[in-house]
Symmetry: C2
Subunit: 334 residues, 2 copies
């Protein structure tokens, strides 16, 4: 496949183009207030539940944007993607809508719901073993055999600009509410959602500080932004946040996030569990571990919220029932 061309960074016009492609296809998720959240944090928090997005996560935005920009001949040959589950569902659902054959390479230990739904959207799923197989090699082999185009999970200009429509909507919806955003928080694996959204916010809400939120142990973007160079995570590290286990920031996403002055935060698994339980009890929203990191950062006081207006994304809600039951049973948010 080769590396993406780092010179080809998407710009705000690409985000606007993506928004046009997604109009009437993606769900324009609301920007919501929760009195109990404001009471606890002392701020005005505006919550963007991408859990309500088609496929249960924001990933549909980037996947559909990418596929809609492929030429007809490439679409005919199909697409291949590797993903632990949310990008998988996003690509599968976009491919189904656009009548493009899709093969998704997924780890055999991905949440059951994510595997089932990816198949449910009509994609062929190729499971691989995390310990013994390299997912990129598996995807490359499929691409070489079938001529399918690889849809990277984040390090792709089309995917980044598609995810950026989330930030574009946040800016517009906050303006509709008369809210001036001091900051906006984005869940971060490889950095696609943040970098695309930061592009949109720079254009439409330039005084808003943009933060990534990552799980502890997978805070590669935080450390990379701090040090000024891309660094990876320690091998063998674990996290409850299955959706955010990227090894290192993308080239394109890191270039954008650096240039746009994005800053990083990190949260523990325990903070994530408490945030999921809070979302259950006080927001009535089903949020998966990786989708709850921004809420966890807000509730755990990782940045100053008192008197400030801050947007945060709940990036996904694809969590198996047994996992969710265990978390809400802990009653940690009572």
């Amino acid at each position: 496949m080769g590396a993406p061309d780092p010179g080809r960074l998407p710009d705000f016009a690409d985000v606007e183009d993506a928004a046009q492609r997604l109009a009437g296809v993606a769900v324009r998720t609301p920007l919501l207030s929760f009195p109990e959240l404001d009471r606890r944090t002392g701020g005005r928090l505006l919550v963007k539940p991408e859990t309500l997005q088609r496929t249960g996560s924001f990933k549909f935005r980037g996947a559909y944007t990418k596929l809609s920009r492929l030429d007809p001949e490439t679409r005919r040959r199909g697409v291949v993607a590797y993903s632990s589950g949310n990008h998988a569902q996003g690509v599968a659902a976009a491919a189904q809508l656009l009548d493009v054959p899709a093969t998704i390479v997924m780890p055999s230990d991905a949440p059951r719901m994510k595997i089932d739904n990816t198949r449910g959207y009509g994609a062929e799923v190729r499971l691989y073993d995390r310990a013994s197989e390299d997912r990129i090699a598996v995807a490359d082999a499929i691409a070489a055999r079938t001529g399918a185009a690889l849809v990277r999970p984040y390090d792709d200009p089309d995917v980044i600009s598609g995810q950026g429509t989330c930030g574009l909507e946040i800016a517009a919806q906050a303006a509709d509410l008369g809210a001036e955003l001091d900051a906006a928080l984005f869940c971060c694996g490889g950095g696609g959602l943040t970098s695309g959204s930061a592009l949109a916010l720079q254009a439409r809400s330039p005084d808003t500080a943009v933060y990534t939120v990552e799980p502890e142990g997978f805070d590669d973007t935080l450390r990379s932004l701090s040090s000024g160079a891309r660094v990876g995570n320690e091998p063998g590290v674990q996290s409850f946040c299955d959706a955010l286990l990227a090894e290192r920031p993308g080239e394109l996403t890191f270039a954008l996030n650096s240039r746009l002055g994005v800053r990083g935060l990190a949260v523990s698994d325990a903070e994530v569990r408490r945030a999921m339980a809070f979302a259950y009890s006080w927001m009535k929203l089903v949020v998966e571990p990786g989708g709850a990191v921004c809420l966890a950062a807000a509730l755990a006081g990782k940045l100053e919220l008192q008197g400030r207006t801050v947007a945060l994304v709940l990036s996904g809600g694809n969590v198996d029932a047994a996992t969710f039951a265990a978390v809400i049973g802990e009653g940690a948010a009572a």
Copy 2:
């Protein structure tokens, strides 16, 4: 307390006044689309999640409207209400915001979350035993002793007009989406939400057919509307839908629902459980049993949806974790 004056039916102007009182206080819940729901039903379903409302149910709308219309002297003496939990939380939260003392009479077997939250909003909770005590007598005794005003759960013009703001928002939001509503479905206990919303829809979307949805065994409104006279439920009947266990339609609510041509539907506990599991899996929303009856009616094909545009309310999301875990563990919506 005496019965409400049946001659004093609220009108559309009362709903509009309530909307002004609630502006900036109640959450303007969104009207959402879910592709999987449309795919399964063949219709265009627009979902109003009152689960996202302050206190986790629509009941806040009516309670706040009522309290805001009390004169200062009455407010000083306080309010009393009886409720299995959602009206309880609505009254407690409204009382807290308006600095009114509140005592809530609740059954000792109400969901724990509802009792805890009612206390959390600062109300005094008086538990009673369903088998041996009459909640209205308990509330009347408190009112007689303290001079507190009774806030009825549904048979009150102010409460009805407050709940009607839900229907008013549905009409406005559907119009914003360019959708012409063929029908709208409302969860029904005593009929406050439906009758108020039917008032609003008659004024703003007169071609929309309005339906109540009740649990089987508590389908008193369905049978009353069919027969033309108020009838009650069989003694000793049970339902999973703790929020919808009214004994018979209210006088005011029945008068309005009759006059406005409302029709009734009913769903089984099993259909409700499947709807809650569907909402978990495909909508990422936490919905309590009574809040899921309209979704249950849609998924179970209780009315024709093919090619039609239909709004439905998810009226509440206050469900204990153990109950919710059991329902989603059944995996009934896979």
